[in-house]
Amino acid sequence: MAALKILFKRYKLEMLMVLPLIIFILGFTLVPVLQCIYYSFQDPLTGAFPTLDNYRLIVGSRKFGDALKNTVLVTLIGLSLEMSVGMMVALLLTTKSRFRGIFRAITMIPMGVPTIVSGVIMLYIFSSNGYLNEFLYRIGVIKLPIDWAQGGLRTLFMVAIADMWKVTPLVIILLLSGLESIPSSIYEASAIDGATRFQNFFYITLPLIKPFFTIALIMRAIDAFRIFELPMVLAGRNTMFLGTYAYSEYFDYNNIHASGAASTILLLLIAAFVFGYIMMVGSREVEQ
């Protein structure tokens, strides 16, 4: 006890400095999240706690089922597109060439475009009298315009591509810093041993940039699950995602309990993915 007192006295300044941040994060992040979970277990009419009625209500509805499916699918499609294209561009950016500087600057441009604006732009491209349809019409692939926002897989692709346009630069930056951390002497050694390009990539590059890859993947997955602005702009009310579903339950039906339940399920989904991935990757490292 006395030791604790001395500790407090000695580090009074440090405590004071760190306190505002801690209070803010507790009060404005942790408490709201708990509150949100609390709402989700609260009876909408009587206010009784806990009850599973809200979960029963939304899990039974088709709209929620679709939103869940769409969220998972768009994350899978978006992540595989972003990670593979991001990796290819990052690899290209490590090779020496005259145009590397300008190519790198161009790839970073979408980072300077607000997400809502990227949604607006994609709306012009994917609307039924938009530029993608016009392009396909001119090259003779289609006769009648395609309604990209009508739902189903094509809408998911539209949202995934819009998302990819905006966030791939972030993936590129992360992977590039990984690639640049690999000393070139390793490749020189493998060249002496006669390794092919594919062997270089799979046995040297990939294992060495794994931590960077993991961070990029986790950051992207979290944001992809929480996708909100792009569907709000692009998909309207036809194709819902978990984020827009929670929004619609609150604003259209004034049902904070259903909205809270949807958010809680989204939180569980993200946590399951992140911990699942870390456990999987971690255990594989242990095996090796």
């Binding site: 994060i25 607000p114 009298n129 016009e134 810093s177 809270g260």
Partner: protein
């Protein structure tokens, strides 16, 4: 030199070495991929600008032309003359600036302390701060909106600033910890030996050295707030921020206004992003990777 080149060509014509062929195909594929990427990145932005300066008959048609046919500044003039843009613009500027200033005041001292913690604890604290990113924003915004309605903070700038800080503070603490890590501990120690107290050592020694990092962090957070949409849509019912206003025009199906607003929204971000490109490369994100 020239002779050798010609010799090489003749050799290649005579007998195409499969390895050389392979290399050439690779080079062509690479160039195609780069060209495709650049096309994919640039065309959307050019289209946005094009729509904001095209006459309606070029856009509201079944087959829009790809190039600007009938150029006009009319949409811009109308948007500026109608004056609906000034209120949201001012609101966005005020909120973003307050977020950046308040954010640095809260996050910088805390980041300094975190950076001076023993490595194991530091890693844990940073991971805990990072894990707040996993919480869905719609889940946080819902109770915040319910509470702010009770407190009368909906539609106020202060309420929105508080909400934006939720998003910005973890990021800021993250970046600034990296900044303070780069300042050697020995410098403060020698200041202490010379008779400064802790606070003096901080203000005289550490603060000037960290100014650049703090400036970069606050500008990045200004941008986060400028772009922010989710909390704004939950907390602004009557007076919108600029992103929200853009969204309203989109919902109304008004292409030209939304394009002009979108360009307006993008310009400061694009300029700052390029000015800060060096920071975006390393310091901004490497905080996540260094530990």
């Amino acid at each position: 030199m020239k002779l050798r080149k010609e010799m090489g060509l003749i050799m290649a014509e005579r007998k195409i070495d499969p390895k050389v062929l392979q290399r050439r195909i690779n080079r062509v594929l690479k160039a195609l991929f780069i060209a495709g990427t650049i096309f994919f990145i640039l065309v959307p932005i050019l289209l946005l600008f094009k729509i904001s300066v095209s006459a309606p008959q070029d856009i509201l048609t079944q087959h829009p032309p790809f190039l600007i046919k009938n150029f006009t500044w009319n949409h811009w003039k109308r948007v500026l003359a109608a004056g609906h843009i000034w209120v949201p613009l001012w609101k966005s500027v005020v909120v973003a600036t307050s977020v950046a200033l308040l954010g640095i005041m809260i996050a910088a001292p805390a980041a300094y302390v975190i950076s001076r913690l023993p490595t194991g604890i530091k890693y844990g604290v940073l991971l805990a701060i990072f894990s707040t990113r996993m919480f869905p924003e719609v889940g946080i915004a819902l109770p915040i909106s319910v509470t702010f309605i009770q407190w009368g903070l909906v539609d106020t700038n202060f309420g929105l600033v508080l909400a934006h800080l939720i998003k910005v503070l973890p990021l800021m603490a993250w970046i600034l910890t990296g900044t303070f890590d780069s300042i050697p501990k020995d410098l403060e120690q020698s200041a202490l030996v010379d008779g400064c107290d802790k606070l003096q050592a901080l203000v005289i020694v550490v603060l000037p050295l960290s100014l650049a990092g703090m400036a970069a962090a606050s500008i990045l957070c200004w941008l986060e707030s400028w772009n922010e949409f989710t909390y704004a849509v939950y907390l602004c019912l009557a007076d919108a921020t600029l992103p929200l206003k853009t969204y309203y025009y989109v919902r109304r199906g008004n292409w030209f206004e939304s394009a002009a607003y979108a360009v307006f929204l993008t310009i400061p971000v694009l300029i700052i992003t390029f000015a800060l490109q060096n920071y975006l490369k390393s310091d901004y994100l490497s905080g996540a990777l260094k530990y």
